[in-house]
Structure formats: C-alpha cells, structure tokens
C-alpha cells in the first residue's frame, strides 16, 4: 500500500489544543507538550483516522493553492516525525 493511502489519526491519549496564552497550536500527551508550526497544525487537524494522506494533501493543495510536488513530501515527513514520537498512528 502506498503511504498516501494510509489514514493517520492522533494516537490514543493525544490531544490537539490551542495554547490560550500564545494562540499557538500544541499537541498534549501524558508526558509532555509539543508546539506545532502552522503547516503541522493544518496537517494534524485533518488526521481524523478517516481521511487518507492523499485526501489531506488534496485538501491542503486546494486551500492554499500550492503544488502537490513539494507538498506530498512535506506532509509525509511531518507525519513520519509525529509517528516516531508516537503522537500519530496510521489506520489502514
């Protein structure tokens, strides 16, 4: 299966929240807090376990009028990083 067909979701016990002091998005989990940049936020907000990476990329490309060439790589890299930190899981 292509990684573009996988369906990312926040790992159990992980929550996306806006830090009300800074207005910035953060991921909260039992052992800590991770600040997200705006790109990561756009991606993570769409990780609902239903949308495929392909669908997330299509939505972001349309919303921000950017080419898929660079975008796909950025999304996969971001998700891989979050998966390594156990903040994202992939449903198939």
């Amino acid at each position: 299966m292509s990684p573009m067909d996988s369906r990312p979701a926040l790992a159990p016990g992980v929550r996306l929240q806006i830090d009300k002091i800074t207005g910035e998005p953060v991921l909260l989990y039992p052992e800590g807090i991770m600040a997200l940049n705006s790109t990561a936020h756009e991606i993570v907000a769409r990780c609902d376990g239903a949308a495929t990476v392909e669908a997330i990329a299509t939505a972001l490309a349309a919303e921000y009028e950017i080419s898929r060439d660079a975008l796909d790589g950025d999304i996969l890299e971001c998700l891989e990083d979050l998966r390594n930190r156990r903040l994202i899981v992939f449903a198939t």
Binding site: A11, P12, G13, R15, K20, L28, Y29, P30, E31, R86
Partner: protein, 362 residues
C-alpha cells in the same frame, strides 16, 4: 524573564491505601483540612488562566476523593490535558467510566513489581491483583494507560521481568523511576538504595529493552541520581514550568518542597495562584541563576541542570541554596559517596524499612 507554568500537579490528598517505603510524600503532614471541591475548582481555573496546559491528579491516592471526576471535568473544560496518577485501588468499572465521561485523557497506574508476593510486600497491602484489574478496566474504557514502577534495591534485579510484565499489560508508555530520596524514601534510603552492581546491570538492561520495545512501548528510565556525576535538572528549574498544589492548598515549586525547613509556602486559600507564581517569595527564591553559589554560579552547566534539586540540597546539607550534593563538583559530594560506601553488601544486613503512614484524622 517572564515564566509561565505549563503543568499543575494537584495532590488531592495524602491519604493512600498503600504503604510503600519509597513514597516521596512528606513524613509530617501539613496542618489543616484538605481543600474543598470549590477551592480545587477555583485553583484549577486560576491555573488555566496562568497558562497551565496539563493537570496531573495525584496524591496520596486521588481516587479517595469522591469529587475527583468533577475536578477532572473542571480541568478539561478549561482546555487542560488531564492525567490521573494512581495506585489503581478504587478504580472499578463505574469509577473509570465516570472519569472517562468527565474527560480524563490518560491514567498512570503504579506497580511495585512484576510478581504479586514481592509487589504486595513492598506496598504493605494486598493490592497487586486489584491493580491488574484496574489496568484492564482503564484500557477497556478507552483511557490511555501508562505504567510506572519505582525501582529500588528490592526490585531492581527483576528489571527485565518488570519490563516484560508492563508490555503484557498493553501499555504504550512505561516509566521506570529509580527512587528519589524524599519524604519516606529519604527516611528509608539505606534500605532502598541499590548496590553499584545492581545499578550497572539495570542500566544495561534498560538500554537493551528500550531498543527491543522501540515502536511498541516507550521506556522512560529515571536514573538513580546518587550514582550520577551531575545533578538532575530538577523541575526544569525552580518556578520555571511547574507548580504543585498540595492537599491543604500550599503552592509548591516542586512536590517535595514542603520538606525544606525554614521556607514558607503561600496557600490558594489566601492568595491567587497568579500572585503566588509571579510575586511570592517562595517562587522567586531560587528562580533564575542569581541565587547560585559557587561552583554553580560560574558553571557552564547551570542553564542545563539549574544547580540540581533544592530539596536534596536542603536534606543533605541543611542549606537549600547549596549546590546539589549529587554533583561531583559540589563540596558536599563526599557525603553521598560516604553514604553509598555504607550500604551493606548482603540483603540480610539491611535495616527494616519504615512503611509509609497515613495522615492522622483531624
């Protein structure tokens, strides 16, 4: 620099059904009644307004508070991440469902060992079997489960078995915390401190097992700091990221700070959390680096370890402003070396430990 707190540890009660000799709760309990539900709810709202993003509910055993779910719900409604730090005793299906419905994000259950006889012996109560049941219920209710095991001389040699046990519980996160010597743990340190050989074996095992479980279970290994050469970066610095509210409402820069004799801590009963965080003498006392003596003052490490732990300095030298004696550069390091040298080689020569006692009813 203007600091803000990120995490609140709400120590709801010092009562606990377990009697673990390593407990870091104070051996002398503060006078006064436990905070009421309304007082806790106000403290939680004030913490959120200060920027706190995570609330840990701990104790003692927080499940002994019948109002726990309403406090979790208050934290959750303020947008905080909520974590229950529990022995698991009292966490039946009804209670777990109530907490899940209140918005509890995760639960950390402590175990004393992998095998029931040893575990119950350490806990001073027959609790191991009930903890297994609690862990199963937490998973069944869809609450993220993490497992904590405090390590010491009586269980460190079973580290590999303990890790296999945690993996079988289905947790994704295992915290293996070598005992830190505060409260009852400090009182019992001669009994709890592992031998150097045990520590070296354990270090090797922890590193191998981390690799082996990578991708399935994160293993977080808290080092036995008496055997280290540099102090731990305690609380990431005094009054920098964390605050603790104890059962009677005192606000502490770290959970064990009330052990520092001569220091006075303000209470949420009398002052706002914002005032205590920003203005109080206790929170400003060891903030930053200006308070540091030599060798910390000119040490390039001082922004990394913050001079170590103030409670440990106070316990071991009588002076909370001293360099943490764990540091090899501390003039007091010899007291730790002398203590380590005094540990008996044979278990049969160990003194009996003093089980943790509950606060007396007031």
């Amino acid at each position: 620099m203007n600091h803000r707190p990120y995490a609140l540890l709400a120590e709801l009660t010092y009562r606990c059904p377990l009697h673990c000799p390593y407990c870091s709760n104070p051996t002398r309990h503060p006078a006064g009644a436990e905070l009421t539900t309304e007082e806790w709810q106000r403290a939680i709202r004030e913490a959120s307004a200060l920027g706190v993003l995570q609330a840990g509910f701990s104790g003692g055993e927080p499940l002994l508070r019948a109002d726990l779910a309403s406090l979790v719900s208050e934290a959750r409604e303020s947008g905080m991440y909520t974590n229950l730090i529990t022995s698991g005793i009292g966490l039946d299906k009804r209670r777990a469902a109530e907490l899940r419905d209140a918005g509890l994000d995760s639960a950390q259950i402590s175990f004393q060992a992998d095998e029931p006889t040893l575990a119950d012996n350490i806990a001073g109560a027959r609790t191991h079997q009930r903890k297994l049941e609690a862990a199963r219920i937490v998973r069944e209710q869809g609450i993220a489960l993490s497992v904590n095991v405090v390590l010491h001389r009586a269980n460190l040699s079973r580290l590999r078995e303990i890790i296999a046990f945690a993996a079988a519980l289905g947790t994704k996160h295992l915290e293996l915390a070598n005992t830190q010597y505060y409260g009852w743990g400090f009182l019992n340190r001669a009994h709890l401190t592992p031998t150097r050989a045990q520590v070296e074996d354990a270090r090797q095992i922890a590193s191998e097992e981390k690799q082996r479980h990578a991708g399935r279970m994160d293993i977080f290994y808290v080092l036995p700091d008496y055997y280290e050469q540099r102090p731990k970066p305690c609380m990431q610095g005094w009054g920098r990221r964390y605050l603790t509210v104890n059962p009677t409402g005192e606000v502490l820069p770290c959970p064990t700070a009330s052990s520092i004799s001569g220091m006075r801590f303000d209470s949420v009963r009398e002052k706002s959390l914002a005032w205590i965080w920003h203005e109080s003498e206790s929170f400003n006392r060891f903030r930053g680096t200006a308070w540091m003596p030599e060798p910390c003052r000119t040490c390039p490490q001082h922004e990394i370890d913050f001079g170590g732990c103030r409670c440990q300095a106070a316990l071991l030298t009588g002076n909370p402003a001293a360099t943490d004696p764990v540091c090899a550069l501390s003039p007091d390091r010899k007291s730790i070396d002398a203590f380590l040298a005094s540990i008996p080689g044979n278990d049969s020569d160990l003194p009996p430990w003093q089980p943790r006692e509950n606060p007396t009813a007031k």
